[in-house]
């Protein structure tokens, strides 16, 4: 079985700061990470590698430094890594991004295509479904769990607003994974030691199968009307415990903040 996972390099939003004047993200000095949903998707693919000896390819579209997330994926255990990069891709919105990725995917043979549900920076959750449309493949979004029968059928638990659906789908197909679905494994030490000596394939426009007019700024119908930051409110923390334990937690939090 062949699996391709689309991963996106995103700024670590837990450490991100907003420029108070312009309202835009300050990206300088913010560490880049693998988008959390995509990391769960990687774990799904690697668990299928463990059980079914699947071959796992990762692909990312981005500037040359996006190579770092591919090295990290190697250290986690993937078999092949492709960096999709070309000046022709610059300025892409979600549609042009998905066209470029679909162009590359036409050159790859796969039974399962895994994307994250949503990127924590762009946040549209559009790229996965758009790729499925371009390639005319069945898609299951909001994946919470996947079972494989070892032949060609996947049984998938899909989260919906107030419950879940159980679906069966045959490969090749596209799934978009939720970050909570699979707990990503740690990189292994030997994987890290070898990661930078492995081959990262660089693919540009010439290597993929796509119409040039669908790429980059020209292929991007989206126009940004206005960007603004919303007021910050801390997320708070939810504990589902009995009242005795809850009192203990509240007391320790109050002490921690020196309120009592």
């Amino acid at each position: 079985m062949n699996i391709v996972v689309c991963i996106k390099q995103v700024p670590d939003t837990t450490e991100i700061k907003i420029n108070p004047v312009t309202g835009t993200l300050i990206r300088d000095g913010v560490p880049s990470i693998i988008n959390p949903d995509d990391k769960a998707g990687l774990e799904l693919a690697l668990s299928l590698k463990d059980s079914f000896n699947a071959h796992v390819t990762v692909i990312t579209m981005g500037p040359p430094q996006a190579e770092d997330v591919l090295r990290e994926a190697y250290a986690m255990g993937v078999d092949r890594a492709i960096l999709l990069t070309d000046a022709k891709f610059a300025g892409a919105d979600t549609l042009a991004t998905s066209h470029a990725l679909a162009g590359a995917l036409r050159k790859l043979d796969f039974d399962l295509l895994v994307t994250g549900r949503q990127a924590i920076d762009g946040d549209t959750a559009q790229v996965g479904p758009q790729i499925a449309e371009h390639l005319d493949l069945p898609q299951v979004s909001y994946l919470e769990h996947l079972d494989f029968d070892g032949k060609k059928t996947f049984t998938i638990k899909r989260r919906i607003e107030d419950g879940y659906e159980m679906l069966q789908v045959d490969g090749p197909c596209v799934v978009t994974v939720l970050s909570g679905a699979y707990r990503p494994r740690y990189m292994s030490v030997s994987g890290i030691v070898e990661a930078y000596s492995k081959n990262v394939e660089i693919w540009g426009f010439a290597q993929i199968d796509v119409d040039e007019k669908d790429l980059g700024l020209n292929g991007s119908p989206t126009r940004v009307h206005k960007a603004f930051s919303r007021g910050v409110k801390s997320a708070g923390q939810l504990y589902e415990v009995d009242s005795t334990e809850a009192v203990g937690i509240i007391m320790s939090k109050l002490k921690e903040k020196f309120i009592i």
């Binding site: 770092d68 090295r71 990290e72 250290a75 740690y186 990189m187 292994s188 030490v189 030997s190 890290i192 030691v193 070898e194 990661a195 930078y196 002490k255 903040k257 020196f258």
Partner: protein, 379 residues
């Protein structure tokens, strides 16, 4: 000269910090309080290759550098010094001497199991009457057919009881003093081998420190490590490498205490300001931070030289001496900055202070490190 980390080192730090924070830190207080060896943590480290970082891939290790290894011990110790020493004793004092002095058969037999963490390793040199003066060994090994028969006891042996393999030093020729000492690889199931009393300790309370008892313990001749009568120098060189691990452990403890203190002094308010606003706090913390960074440079320099195959014995002694005294100083002052709260077990500082002390004692006391440094200086 280039002080920047490589991409590989940065990727490694990303992994090990993440692992330490999520898997090791949550257990640290409990492991200390209950004096419990964290078996589950070893089981988690094993498949990631953390138990065999500097062991070559062909012997089942990760094929990493001593720099990566020192980073691992530092980061683990920053949240739990017990976990740091488990890795350090296992790697530096058991797997590495087998790698450096073992026969091909010994390497094939022991390294894959040790490097994968399937087996845990330990090192038995110290005896009740042979501490700093390690040459005063009373454990004897007598040749008998295809075996050596070992009789004697060791004390304060880290990882004992949980370890599967022990490097044990014994006298093969009492008349020759240090030149009559030989090293052996002893498996826990060898007849006549047992683990005795477990020590109750001030710090690193989750690590197992016990007595080893050898009563006519039968060790096959092929388990002699290194050459006959060369055990003393093997042990001393092994400790040179081990000191990089302990220096990294001390450095981690200091860094862990500093991280806690930085958070605390910004939050804690007295006289209507955070205590970080007092110049006394700022100046003392600046001095401590400078010591920590200096200690890290010494640790990395020693590891770098070992990686390059250069002489590093004095560098390792300096790293251990300076890092361990830094750990004592930082944890001591960190409690002071935390006031009464730092003295209680609500905060991890009290544990870090207790954990720091051992780094001035084992694998050569601070006095021994000074002897090594002065010995080279005044040669």
């Amino acid at each position: 000269m280039d002080f920047s980390l490589t991409k590989t080192e940065n990727l490694f730090l990303q992994m090990i910090k993440d692992f330490a924070e999520n898997e090791v830190k949550p257990l640290a207080a409990e492991v200390d309080e209950q004096e419990r060896f964290p078996v589950e943590t070893v089981k988690k480290m094993a498949p990631l290759g953390i138990m065999g970082i500097p062991i070559p891939v062909k012997y089942g290790g990760a094929g990493g550098t001593n720099i990566l290894y020192s980073m691992a011990v530092e980061e683990l110790s920053a949240v739990c010094a017990t976990t740091g020493v488990i890795v350090s004793a296992h790697t530096s004092l058991c797997a590495v001497p087998i790698l450096e002095y073992g026969t091909e058969e010994q390497k094939q037999k022991y390294l894959p199991k040790l490097a994968s963490g399937e087996w845990l390793g330990a090192f038995g040199l110290t005896e009740p009457n042979a501490g700093t003066d390690a040459s005063a060994q009373q454990t004897v090994a007598i040749e008998s057919g295809d075996n050596y028969i070992l009789t004697g006891s060791k004390i304060f042996i880290t990882n004992s009881g949980y370890a599967d393999v022990y490097i044990v030093l014994a006298m093969t020729d009492k008349s020759q003093g240090t030149r009559g000492i030989t090293a052996f690889i002893v498996e826990k199931n060898f007849p006549g081998f047992s683990v005795g009393k477990k020590e109750k300790k001030l710090g690193i309370r989750g690590s197992a420190t016990c007595e080893l008892i050898m009563e006519n313990c039968v060790v096959p001749k092929e388990n002699m490590l290194g050459k006959l009568s060369k055990g003393f120098s093997l042990a001393m060189k092994t400790l040179d490498g081990g000191r990089i691990g302990i220096a990294a452990q001390a450095l981690g403890i200091a860094q862990g205490a500093m991280d806690e203190t930085v958070k605390y002094v910004k939050e804690r308010k007295q006289f209507n300001k955070p205590i970080s606003a007092f110049q006394n706090t700022q100046f003392q913390m600046a001095d401590l931070e400078t010591r920590i960074v200096a200690a890290r440079l010494l640790v990395r320099q020693a590891a770098f030289k070992k990686d390059k195959g250069q002489a590093y014995s004095v560098d390792a002694a300096m790293a251990k001496l300076y890092a361990s005294e830094t750990a004592m100083e930082v944890t001591n002052k960190a409690i002071q900055f935390h006031g009464g709260y730092g003295y209680t077990r609500e905060y991890p500082i009290e544990r870090m202070f207790r954990d720091a002390k051992i780094t001035e004692i084992y694998e050569g006391t601070s006095e021994v490190q000074r002897m090594v440094i002065a010995g080279a200086l005044l040669r």
